[in-house]
């Protein structure tokens, strides 16, 4: 056993010196290999961490969103339907939402206008308690509780994530929304170059101009979701878009028992045939799938690059220079066996692979999480005017590294097996027949 370890030790030493003796050729290969790992790793890190962010964000979303569909298109939701929904067994709370899009031709951008939760409908405002801690979908057994019987699943005491469930998806910086004011997201602020105290003109549905004062901006931590967001009061919203008091955009429905969600959704569907319930879990799955698909698509596209690299590696491994051939001939002649030479070549491949893999992964990590995917940015941004400045939370797990390993190191290793074998089976007596320089 010890002899075997010592032997590997010798072979590794010899391999290192052999690699260093041919710096130029090996460096080219190493650089290309690292590049491939870098590209694939960047893609994966980016996709996975966005996926993770999305799923973390969506955790705070309501269990069901209900919209009204007319002829396949989204229509405004009558407030009278709310009673029907509230009467369904299992529904803990129902809240109406007011939101919409506004196109600003000055900067060719679409803003999302939203009335903060709890203010869309007069009936709901009673649930809004003190400011700062408000703007939550109401969960406490207070006025907006549905009269139907419900089962409440209590959070465990001491659960550190209990508060997260009721956190809003955006955060204020201590601003207060009053009629006639807006709270805007950072993307809008940057784009229009406006801030707190400035005025912004809007065109109402009937062609009049209305000026809104900016009361503050949303926090930059939430930029991923709030870059293009503008908070507006319910009354102002209705005035701007000409929406009647009897309708809202859609509803969010809270169901406490997770296993009841699908049941409640199907009941809503049955009682309100024009309604379309969207379940949060479905959204999560769909988002997951979209990101998976995007990530996978990129991998497939890059497979052409990986293939080219593999062919290159195969070629490099096959093309032994005369000097290399002579060297192996000498090794075989002085007493190295074919399997010893194969081992040496294997260590060569392993060293190159490991160096390239780790360098590529580290570079990709820096690229995605510290420089904000600077190489991909043009491709990702497209022509969107409102692009959030976000810093992704680093999220690298074993799955990503394993996948990377299988997509890069394995093809490289397999491509070099036959060339290695060919090199290793050089006849020992070639050294004897070599008679001149």
């Amino acid at each position: 056993m010890r002899a075997w370890i010592e032997k590997q030790h010798y072979i590794i030493d010899f391999t290192i010196s052999s690699l260093l003796r041919r710096k130029v050729k090996n460096f080219g290969l190493l650089a290309l290999y690292t590049l491939i790992v870098f590209i694939l790793a960047s893609t994966m890190f980016f996709t996975y961490s966005i996926k993770k962010e999305a799923s973390l964000i969506l955790k705070g979303a309501p269990e069901i969103i209900v919209q009204k569909i007319v002829a396949g298109r989204h229509d405004l939701f009558p407030l009278s339907y709310i009673e029907t929904i509230k009467s369904i067994r299992g529904v803990a709370a129902v809240e109406s939402r007011l939101w919409g899009y506004y196109y600003d031709s000055l900067v060719s951008a679409n803003y999302t206008l939203l009335t903060p939760p709890g203010q869309a409908d007069a009936a709901d405002t009673a649930a809004v308690a003190d400011s700062g801690a408000s703007f939550r979908p109401c969960r406490s057994p207070q006025p907006c509780k549905s009269p139907a019987k419900t089962t409440v699943v209590e959070n465990e005491p001491g659960d550190p994530h209990a508060a997260d469930e009721s956190k809003p998806l955006f955060e204020f910086n201590g601003a207060v929304l009053e009629p006639g004011t807006l709270i805007i997201g950072n993307g809008v602020a940057r784009l229009r170059n406006i801030g707190k105290g400035d005025y912004m003109p809007f065109l109402t549905f009937d062609g009049k101009v209305v000026n809104f004062k900016i009361a503050g901006t949303l926090s930059s931590q939430s930029e991923l979701v709030s870059a293009d967001l503008m908070l507006i009061t319910g009354a102002d919203f209705r005035k701007l878009f000409g929406i009647d008091n009897s309708v809202v955009t859609d509803l969010s429905v809270t169901v406490n028992n997770p296993s009841e969600v699908a049941m409640v959704a199907s009941k809503i569907k049955k009682r309100l045939p024009q309604a379309r319930p969207i379940i949060r879990d479905e959204m999560l799955r769909t988002y997951d799938s979209i990101f998976n698909w995007r990530g996978g698509m990129m991998i497939v596209v890059f497979s052409a690059a990986v293939l080219a690299f593999v062919i290159f590696a195969w070629d490099k491994a096959s093309g032994l220079s005369a000097g290399e051939r002579r060297e192996i001939g000498i090794l075989k002649a002085v007493g190295w066996e074919t399997s010893d030479v194969i081992q040496m070549k294997f260590w060569e491949g392993a060293m190159i692979s490991l160096t390239a893999f780790f360098t590529g992964v580290i570079l990709a990590y820096i690229h995605v999480f510290f420089t904000g995917s600077i190489v991909f940015e043009p491709a990702l941004k497209g022509w969107s005017s409102l692009y959030p400045n976000f810093e992704l939370t680093p999220f690298v797990n074993l799955e990503q590294l394993t996948t990377l390993f299988f997509l890069t190191v394995v093809p490289y290793t397999v491509a070099t097996i036959v060339p290695i074998w060919r090199a290793a089976t050089i006849d020992p007596d070639s050294a004897m027949r070599f008679t001149g320089e």
Binding site: R276, F406, V414
Partner: protein
């Protein structure tokens, strides 16, 4: 099909392994036909050189098989969020009818691969390649099974469809699949299974030790180690997992390889697979004890294999017992689960 990077990695690994095996079989057939160690002609030399290639190829393939077995479970677990009702890999494997058969074949192939590697090692120790024909016959048998496994795995992944929103015009997106996929694993009652496990393990270990000292009963040991393998798998589902998860209803054998449980499953499974391969290796090699060129080493090697197998099974049992003893779960055996 779900175009997930890890799925692509799985399929790539499967196709590479399949391709290499086909390549190996093609040359292996040549070796079977023309091999003649006494002959000094060029063809024989070429064949000898080629057998190095095939050994190297297959070592890689079989190493890949082991990795891809774990990767497969890993992927299944990672795809869980995409399917309604799937809680872990156990659910994902149920998504279409190819999931579990692929897993079974993967395990089967891994064991065969391990056996091939054992045979290969022994063959290389004899100065006239005594086992070469048998080795390549085994390869000819293993290859189609690997191909079938690759096909099944492809079918499994290609057939998958996530439960996602497919059209914004639809109304209720989730189909009325309120119950979702079955994540329940059929399991045998815990207490009787514990008895079976411990008594079978005791028999196996005793037989192994007996063989190690007396060189008798090798075939019996091989058989017992195979049996023990199956019993251990069933036990993991039936009671061992309960103690690891500290939950009397969680029988899933796949979650134990996940992060939450400190990856303990990897250790358990590696010990188990190692034990069964070395145990079966004992049985596979006994017929060759009379071969002249192996006389010097074979008996010693077989005994070492048996010892390795015994040690691995013992380590497995120790780990299991440790988990049971230190678990916070107390199963009151008046109620049968």
């Amino acid at each position: 099909m779900i175009l997930h990077p890890t799925v692509i990695a799985n399929l790539l690994a499967a196709y590479i392994a399949g391709g290499m095996v086909l390549y190996a079989v093609f040359y292996g057939v040549q070796i079977l036909k023309h091999w003649d160690i006494q002959n000094g002609h060029e063809l024989q030399l070429v064949l000898e050189r080629r057998t190095y290639l095939i050994s190297t190829l297959l070592s890689y393939v079989f190493g890949l098989q082991l990795l891809s077995l774990f990767l497969y479970i890993f992927t299944a677990d990672n795809l869980t969020p995409l399917f309604v009702g799937a809680m872990c890999a156990a659910g994902t494997l149920n998504v279409d009818s190819f999931g579990y058969p692929t897993l079974v074949l993967k395990i089967f192939n891994f064991i065969l691969a391990g056996l091939w590697l054992v045979l290969n090692y022994v063959d290389n120790q004899g100065y006239d390649y005594p086992l070469i024909k048998k080795k390549y016959l085994l390869l000819a048998f293993v290859a189609p099974v690997i191909i079938v496994e690759t096909i099944l795995e492809s079918a499994y992944f290609l057939d998958m469809e996530a439960d996602v929103i497919t059209s914004c015009c639809g109304s209720l997106f989730s189909s009325e699949r309120v119950t979702g996929l079955g994540s329940e694993i059929a399991s045998l009652p815990a207490r009787p299974m514990m008895w079976v496990f411990y008594s079978a393990m005791a028999c196996t270990l005793l037989c192994g030790i007996f063989f190690y000292f007396n060189n008798l009963g090798g075939y019996l040991y091989a058989l017992l180690s195979l049996l023990m393998f199956f019993i251990s798998l069933v036990s993991i589902v039936s009671f061992i997992s309960l103690y690891i998860y500290e939950l009397p209803t969680h029988h899933c054998p796949f979650c134990i390889i996940m992060e939450e449980y400190n990856y303990i499953g990897y250790l358990l499974y590696i010990l188990l697979f190692g034990a069964v391969v070395s145990g079966l290796g004992v049985g596979a090699l006994i017929p060759f004890r009379q071969v002249e060129s192996l006389q010097a080493m074979l008996s010693g090697f077989i005994r070492k294999l048996a010892l390795a197998s015994v040690i691995l099974y013992a380590a497995f049992t120790t780990l299991v017992t440790y988990e049971i003893v230190t678990s916070s779960l107390v199963i009151s055996y008046e109620v049968v689960y």
